[in-house]
């Protein structure tokens, strides 16, 4: 039944294979597995690598995470932030990709490039520009709409302002992914629907959308992983403020590790966040019914 795998042709191929495998194992060991192991061990310690402090605490750091109200608040903020950004990223990405894919649109490469440009721009640069745009005195947004809102220091608007910036920066990724998905759709399925008299909406709803399910799942999963780790925009735009109104889970980890040098507690937070990310990812697979 199964084809026998093609044997390596020569000694040089075998050597090349071994070199690549060893290099990859070394790379992932040094830059991934060993650091994760060190962080996991550190999560049970009072740990400051800069001062040399390393004292066993048992589960103390994990207990501290559970009872810290700021952690739960930041987790709730992270859920709101991730859900809203992902919904808009997927929705806008799909809509714009479908529009560009349409036969009515010319200059497809141009539009694809334009929408992808914010994605390749560094987050730090984008966050600074948007921070300037949100400035209550001289910001473009207030001037354009004749408003007087302190967007980033008002607890009602601060997180929303960061979300809008993140959507603007990131939806281009979904555009490009969905365009790749659209171009790989089987032409015969679309043709058959046309022959059966399906209108444009029916074509999209019952043919295109189901066929893009795998791509949607991919965009959602990568977005969940990415947004649970989001902290750069918070660091630049609000520093978690006003007060702690825009704290995200990853920002607490940054704050504990690189401001307070509390690496043990930060590591415990990281592993709790890792478990939460895994749960959300698993749930996404379950909801989509695509557990493979």
């Amino acid at each position: 039944m199964f084809k026998k795998s093609h044997p390596l042709q020569s000694k040089s191929e075998i050597i090349l294979r071994d070199i690549v495998v060893v290099a990859m194992v070394l790379f992932f060991s040094v830059f991934l597995i060993i650091p994760i192991g060190i962080a996991f061990a550190g999560s049970f310690h009072e740990w400051n690598p800069l001062s040399g402090t390393y004292r066993f605490l048992g589960l103390e750091n994990y207990k501290e995470v559970i009872v810290n109200p700021l952690f739960w608040k930041s987790l709730w903020n992270t859920i709101i932030f991730s859900v809203v950004v992902i919904i808009f990223r997927v929705g806008l990405g799909l809509a714009i990709a479908y529009a560009i894919y349409s036969a009515l649109i010319k200059y497809k490469s141009f539009f694809r490039s334009v929408f992808y440009m914010p994605v390749v721009t560094p987050m730090v640069a984008v966050a600074f520009v948007w921070k300037f745009m949100y400035n209550p005195q001289i910001g473009t947004i207030n001037q354009m709409f004749g408003l007087d809102v302190n967007w980033l220091m008002n607890p009602k608007t601060a997180l929303a302002a960061v979300i809008v910036m993140t959507i603007w920066k990131d939806f281009g990724y979904a555009v490009v992914m969905y365009m790749a998905g659209l171009y790989s759709l089987p032409a015969d399925a679309l043709e058959a629907a046309k022959v059966d008299g399906a209108n444009a909406w029916q074509n999209f709803r019952y043919i295109t959308l189901p066929l893009l399910k795998s791509m949607t799942l991919f965009v959602v999963i990568t977005s969940i992983i990415s947004y649970i780790q989001a902290y750069v925009q918070i660091l630049i735009m609000t520093e978690g403020g006003p007060g702690t109104a825009t704290y995200l889970s990853s920002y607490i980890i940054y704050d504990e590790a690189f401001v307070k040098y509390n690496f043990g507690y930060a590591s415990a937070l990281s592993f709790v966040l890792f478990i939460i990310t895994a749960i959300f990812t698993w749930l996404s697979f379950r909801v989509s019914g695509n557990e493979e």
Partner: protein
């Protein structure tokens, strides 16, 4: 050939200029050895801590050490040039790391075998550095005789670094706005009540819209008010045990209430007017700000159009327990893991720096810090800097709490933002700050040195 001659002449001019710029206030060698040697000290100089340039370093053999710092290359290079002119066999290589990287790279480098022998210290990173520091090889009583605040740096009878200068907060005001409001030098406020009245006069509104803030403390109220005015009312920042924070007190609530009233009752500013008070002042939108000494140089280099003056921070009743908090700018650290011969150079270099009045003045002027060296307290050059001269009369009435963990600032910043932006009441905000600081300081070794204040109760 022509090119070679020109190069030789230029090299000679550069050498002469460099050496001329590094002369110390100490005795210099006379004789007819040329311009360069005329500025190289040959006799011991200094007050109690003396530096003897005639003592050979590393037995006259060539040696190279590194000095790490995070900015002000020219300033450091001047001192290095002066030292190397005395000891041509010593090469001190200046290595600049940006501030953001410095505090990660430095402790890791000090933990290894090839870390710098000498490095610039900021006391806010004391806990990360202290395990790598070698004690100064200078008698404690000599340091105490020459410098203010040495006792606060003594750990088990040893001193690892001291302050060369003291920085604190003062009021910066826009002279043009001051004049336009009809105010004169006689209106400079001495009390907070007077300050609030002056701020009202400096405020300009167009209907309800603020056009010019009389006083702006956005984004720095925690550093410049909450962590300083407590002393005016007789409270330390830490309780008697030196570790428990003292931030949910009646006096702290009074200070926070005063800030709220300035904006919400007096209307002299707004939480939404100018993201940062310091920038707003520099952009000509605010008439007064309280800033620390470094702001004097910021105004002179970044906001050059602002015609500004400076006066001492007001008090509540004219007779404060202390005027404000200060923080020290630290002398260099010496790497205890460096090879012995490099440590010897580092010890000698630090002694040279401490004994050298010109270096002390240059560093204090560059950082706008009041000299910790007692003999320079009334130095003419120092007194020409208004941000320093206004401190001269009461400099002994400023307190250093010690190298406070950053949570003191960040927790009080959150408390202030909760009050101003999130509608949290002052009691709750300060109680949360107190709890947050206690939690964050659980693993800290910090102990306040407020009890060493000259007028401590």
């Amino acid at each position: 050939m022509k090119k070679k001659v020109l190069t030789t002449i230029m090299a000679a001019v550069i050498a002469a200029t460099a050496l001329a710029g590094c002369g110390s206030g100490a005795q210099t060698g006379g004789g007819d050895d040329g311009a360069a040697s005329a500025n190289v000290p040959t006799e011991p100089f200094g007050d109690t801590v003396k530096y003897d340039p005639s003592v050979a370093i590393n037995d006259g053999k060539d040696i190279t050490v590194e000095l790490w710092e995070w900015g002000s290359d020219e300033l450091f290079q001047q001192v290095i040039d002066g030292y190397q002119a005395i000891h041509p066999n010593v090469t001190i290589k200046l290595v600049n790391n940006p501030w953001e990287d410095y505090w990660t790279k430095l402790p890791l480098a000090l933990d290894g075998e090839n870390g710098p022998a000498i490095f610039n210290v900021h006391n806010s990173y004391h806990e990360n550095l202290i395990n790598y520091l070698a004690p100064l090889d200078i008698p404690l009583e000599d340091l105490e005789a020459d410098f203010t605040g040495v006792e606060a740096h003594v750990i088990d009878g040893k001193v690892y670094y001291i302050d060369y200068g003291m920085m604190t907060g003062s009021v910066y005001y826009n002279k043009d706005m001051w004049e336009a409001a009809g105010l004169t030098e006689n209106d400079i406020p001495k009390t907070w009540d007077e300050m609030r009245e002056v701020a009202k006069k400096l405020t300009i509104k167009d209907g309800d819209r603020l056009v010019q803030a009389g006083l702006n403390f956005n984004d720095d109220f925690h550093q410049n008010y909450l962590l300083g005015l407590n002393y005016q009312l007789g409270d330390n920042l830490f309780q008697e045990d030196g570790r428990t924070p003292n931030v949910n007190t009646d006096n702290m609530k009074k200070i926070m209430q005063m800030l709220v009233d300035m904006y919400e009752v007096d209307g002299v500013g707004s939480k939404d007017f100018g993201e940062k008070g310091a920038d707003s002042f520099g952009q000509g939108q605010s008439a007064m700000v309280i800033q620390w000494g470094h702001y004097y140089n910021t105004l002179n280099t970044t906001w050059t159009d602002i015609n500004f003056g400076v006066f001492e921070i007001p008090t509540f009743d004219g007779e404060p327990y202390a005027y404000n908090r200060y923080n020290g700018e630290s002398t260099f650290g010496i790497n205890k893991n460096a090879p012995a011969e490099q440590q010897a150079v580092a010890q000698d270099f630090v002694k040279y720096f401490l004994a050298n009045d010109e270096a002390q003045i240059a560093f204090n002027m560059a950082m706008s810090t009041f000299p910790a060296k007692k003999s320079l307290a009334d130095n003419e050059q120092v007194m020409q800097n208004p941000s320093l001269s206004i401190l001269a009369d009461h400099i002994d009435h400023y307190i250093w709490p010690g190298p406070m963990p950053s949570t003191m600032e960040t927790s009080l910043k959150k408390a202030g933002q909760d009050v101003f932006f999130n509608g949290v009441d002052i009691d709750t905000a300060l109680n949360e700050a107190q709890e947050s600081i206690i939690r964050d300081m659980k693993s800290s070794t910090f102990e306040s040195v407020e009890s060493l204040y000259k007028y401590a109760k």
